[in-house]
């Protein structure tokens, strides 16, 4: 799992590619979010389109990131969820709790 980070219109976009699963991917995601926060980012997007698999640890990491960023007064939103990622979040009712947007345009627009 690799996470690339880029900026667009003052928003930090994290792009994980591969598996967000226990032991490797979850740690990489945590580090990327932590890195963004330390660089002063308060509006963060995660482009989920490259995520092939996510397990409960990966989901826990998303929830933890959401809570951390929100508690610091920032915003963390997800977009472009592959169907299986959307399904697994749905099952534990996180689709409604987390901020989820369809695509990058909609996600960027949500911060304007």
């Amino acid at each position: 799992m690799k996470v690339e980070t880029r900026q667009r219109e003052g928003v930090t976009i994290l792009e994980p590619k591969g598996k967000i699963t226990i032991g490797v991917g979850d740690v990489a995601l945590r580090d990327a979010v932590q890195g963004a926060i330390e660089s002063g980012a308060s509006n963060i997007l995660i482009n989920m389109s490259g995520v092939s698999t996510i397990d409960s640890s990966g989901i826990g990491e998303l929830v933890a990131a959401y809570t951390t960023v929100t508690n610091r007064g920032g915003k963390l939103r997800l977009y472009s969820l592959p169907p299986k990622v959307s399904d697994i979040l749905q099952i534990t009712q996180l689709i409604t709790v987390l901020d989820i947007l369809d695509d990058e345009e909609e996600a960027i627009a949500s911060f304007r």
Partner: protein, 152 residues
Amino acid sequence: MGEEVAEVQLSIDSQFENIELVQAVLDASLERLEFDEDSRYWIGIAVREAVANAIKHGNRQDPEKQVGIGLRVVEDTVVIQVQDEGAGFDPTQVGNPLDPENLLKPDGRGIFYMNRFMDAIEYNFGTGGGTLVTMRKRIGSGDPRSGEEDSE
């Protein structure tokens, strides 16, 4: 009981990377059965959760301890067992991740997913310690996301 048509046993060290070995055997085994791609994917997630729990909570990542995975097909049902050398736990004490106070907790969803993606899961604990979880999924027993049998 029913005729057993195939059996595979795998034993791995308690390292999370080894979950990929389990996934590889599982994929190669399920490929021969008539599960659709979605079912195979969700069975894979359930098995990953069970093995992750065995490594993390059971064996506490002790490299000396092994996780055993058994895979067999009995008639139209795949039966997957995951065994660790840990202290066991009380499944009735595991909270519901859908409870409002749990919704934003970073953990506590693994067993819930296992239940949702398989037809049945069952825990057994050895007298000398160790957790054995047995998971079953029948071919064609519906879309696991719906949590219902034969919903298709």
